[in-house]
C-alpha cells in the first residue's frame, strides 16, 4: 500500500513542480494575465482564455497519459488541431469580415496605403531575425508579429514553424494588449503638434452597391496576387459579403457572434496551453519577445513616416497619426490614434479614418503572411 501511495504521489503535479520550477513560473504568468484581463480589463476577450490556458497547460503530469496538448490522441491535442492547421484563424477572419464595415475605407481609398506601409515593419523584422540566426521559416513567423494581427501570426506560424506557436502567439497578443503603452511614444516622437492637429475631411457617403462590390473585388485582386492568403482573405471577404448582401442576415449574424466567439475561445485557450514550460521557457522565446516588440514598433513607425511622405504629395493633407493605425490591431490602434488626436484637439475626430487604416492593415498583414508563406514554400 505504501508503494502504491508513493507511486501516486510521484505522479501528482506537486511532485513534478518540485522537480521543475519553470511550471510554477508559467502558472504565475498565467495568473498575472488573468489579473490583467479581469481586473484591469486589458483585452479580456483574448487575455482570459489565453491566461487560463497557460494555467491549465502548465499543470505538469506524467508523460504518456495522453493528457497534454503535445501528446497524440489527447483531448487537448484534438482542440490544438484547429490551431496547427490554421482552422481557427480562418474562422476568426470569417467573423471579422462579418462585423467589419469597410465604408470609411471605400470613401477614402488613399488611406489603404497606410495599411500597406505599416507592413514594412514585418519585412524589416524578417531581416533582423535572420541576422540573429533564426532559420528562414522561423524568421518569417517572428516577422509577422509586426502585422499586429494575432490570428494571422498564428496562421503563418502554424504553417512554417509550429514549434514556435506558443511564444509567437503570446508575443503577438501581448503587444496588441500593450498598444496604449507602445504606440503613443512613437507617435509623439515621429509627428509634430501641427501634424497631429490636422483635421480630416468628412468622408463621402458610400452606397450599398459599393460595399457589395468591395468583397468580391477584394478577394479577386488580393488572392490572385497572393493565393496563399486565401484561407484568411477568402474567409474575411466572404464574411463581409454576407454582411453587406443583406439576404443572409441570419448567417452573417451567426458568423459575427457565435462562430467567432467559439473560435476565439478555442484559439485563445489552446494558444495558452501551448506555453507548456518545458517547450516555452527557452532563450529563443525571450528573443522572440524582443523581436516582436521591435517588429510592432517598426510597423507603427513605418505607417507614421509613410503618412508624412504622403503629405509631401497631397494637396489636402492627412493626419500622419493615422499611419499608426495601419497595423491591423483592430480596433486598439485606431482607438489610440483617435485618443492622441483628441489629446491635442478635443474636437478632432479621427476614429472613423483610423478604422479605415486599421481594416486595410488587416488585409495587408494577411497578404504579407501569404507572401512569406509562399516564399518559404518555394525556397
Amino acid at each position: 500500500m505504501f508503494d502504491l501511495l508513493m507511486s501516486f504521489l510521484t505522479n501528482t503535479g506537486y511532485f513534478f513542480i518540485s522537480q521543475d520550477i519553470r511550471y510554477l513560473i508559467m502558472i504565475a504568468v498565467g495568473c498575472v494575465f488573468l489579473y490583467l484581463g479581469i481586473a484591469k480589463q486589458y483585452e479580456p476577450l483574448l487575455l482570459v482564455p489565453i491566461a487560463f490556458g497557460i494555467v491549465v497547460g502548465n499543470i505538469p503530469f506524467f508523460k504518456g497519459f495522453g493528457l497534454g496538448i503535445y501528446e497524440d490522441n489527447s483531448v487537448f491535442h484534438y482542440l490544438y488541431f484547429g490551431v496547427t492547421t490554421g482552422l481557427y484563424p480562418s474562422i476568426v477572419f470569417l467573423g471579422l469580415g462579418a462585423m467589419t464595415d469597410f465604408s470609411s475605407l471605400l470613401a477614402q481609398p488613399k488611406l489603404m496605403l497606410l495599411g500597406a506601409a505599416a507592413q514594412m515593419g514585418v519585412f524589416f523584422t524578417l531581416v533582423g531575425a535572420l541576422f540573429l540566426g533564426f532559420l528562414p521559416k522561423e524568421a518569417a513567423s517572428i516577422a509577422i508579429i509586426g502585422g499586429a494581427d494575432g490570428p494571422t501570426s498564428i496562421f503563418l506560424t502554424a504553417k512554417l514553424a509550429p514549434h514556435l506557436i506558443g511564444p509567437i502567439a503570446i508575443a503577438a497578443y501581448s503587444y496588441m494588449a500593450l498598444i496604449p503603452v507602445i504606440q503613443p511614444p512613437i507617435m509623439r516622437l515621429l509627428t509634430t503638434r501641427e501634424e497631429r492637429l490636422i483635421r480630416m475631411e468628412e468622408p463621402r457617403e458610400v452606397s450599398r452597391t459599393e460595399r457589395l462590390i468591395f468583397p468580391i473585388l477584394g478577394v479577386l485582386l488580393c488572392c490572385l496576387l497572393a493565393p496563399t492568403a486565401l484561407p484568411l482573405l477568402g474567409m474575411l471577404f466572404f464574411g463581409n459579403l454576407m454582411k453587406e448582401c443583406g439576404v443572409v442576415d441570419r448567417l452573417a449574424s451567426t458568423a459575427r457572434s457565435a462562430i467567432i466567439d467559439t473560435a476565439t475561445i478555442f484559439l485563445g485557450f489552446c494558444v495558452g496551453m501551448s506555453t507548456q514550460a518545458d517547450v516555452f521557457l527557452t532563450p529563443k522565446s525571450l528573443l522572440i519577445f524582443a523581436l516582436g516588440a521591435v517588429a510592432f514598433s517598426l510597423a507603427t513607425a513605418s505607417g507614421l513616416i509613410f503618412g508624412k511622405i504622403m503629405n509631401l504629395f497631397l494637396k489636402k493633407k492627412i493626419n500622419p497619426l493615422l499611419g499608426a493605425a495601419g497595423v491591423s490591431a483592430v480596433p486598439g490602434s485606431a482607438r489610440e490614434v483617435h485618443l492622441m488626436g483628441q489629446h491635442e484637439d478635443p474636437t478632432n475626430y479621427l476614429l472613423m479614418h483610423a478604422m479605415a487604416c486599421n481594416s486595410s492593415g488587416v488585409i495587408g498583414s494577411a497578404i504579407a503572411a501569404g507572401v512569406l508563406w509562399s516564399f518559404n514554400m518555394m525556397g
Binding site: L105, M112, M120, L132, G133
Partner: protein, 140 residues
C-alpha cells in the same frame, strides 16, 4: 548568424520583394475601389437615360411609413428645394441631429428615388449640415 545568414537565406530579396508585393497589392486594390463609385454612378445614370422623359411630372404614389404619409414622385424633382420639401417631413421625425444612415434608411423605406444621390445633393446644397462625429442637421 549575421549578415551572412541574411544573404544565405535570400533575406534581402525576400524583404524587398515581399514589401513590394504587399504595397503593389494594396495600391491596386485602392485604385480599384476608388473607381467603384464612379462606375456605380455611371451605371445608375445610364439607367436613367434609357427611361423616356415624361411630358409632365408624374403625380407619384402616396406611401405611409410609421404613421407618416408622403406623396412619392417616380423621379427626383429637378429643383433642390422641391427635394428638400420631400425630405423635410422625414427629417422632422428624426430629430434635430441625425446620422445620414438613418435618413437613408427612412428614404429607402418610402422608396424615394435615388436616395444616395439625393442626400449627396442636399449636402452639396448645404441643406444637410455636418455637425461632426457623423451627425447632421437640417438647415431650412
Amino acid at each position: 548568424m549575421g549578415l551572412d545568414n541574411i544573404a544565405l537565406n535570400n533575406g534581402w530579396s525576400q524583404a524587398l520583394l515581399g514589401a513590394s508585393i504587399v504595397m503593389t497589392g494594396l495600391v491596386i486594390l485602392s485604385i480599384a475601389i476608388s473607381q467603384i463609385h464612379k462606375l456605380v454612378d455611371f451605371w445608375e445614370k445610364r439607367g436613367q437615360k434609357a427611361e423616356p422623359e415624361p411630358a409632365t411630372a408624374p403625380a407619384g404614389t402616396a406611401t405611409t411609413v410609421s404613421g407618416l404619409t408622403l406623396e412619392v414622385p417616380d423621379q427626383c424633382p429637378a429643383d433642390i428645394n422641391q427635394v428638400a420639401d420631400l425630405y423635410r417631413p422625414i427629417v422632422a421625425q428624426l430629430g434635430t441631429t441625425f446620422e445620414l444612415r438613418e435618413l437613408y434608411q427612412r428614404a429607402a423605406q418610402f422608396d424615394l428615388p435615388h436616395p444616395h444621390f439625393t442626400i449627396k445633393c442636399l449636402r452639396d446644397a448645404h441643406i444637410l449640415i455636418p455637425q461632426g462625429d457623423g451627425f447632421f442637421s437640417w438647415n431650412q
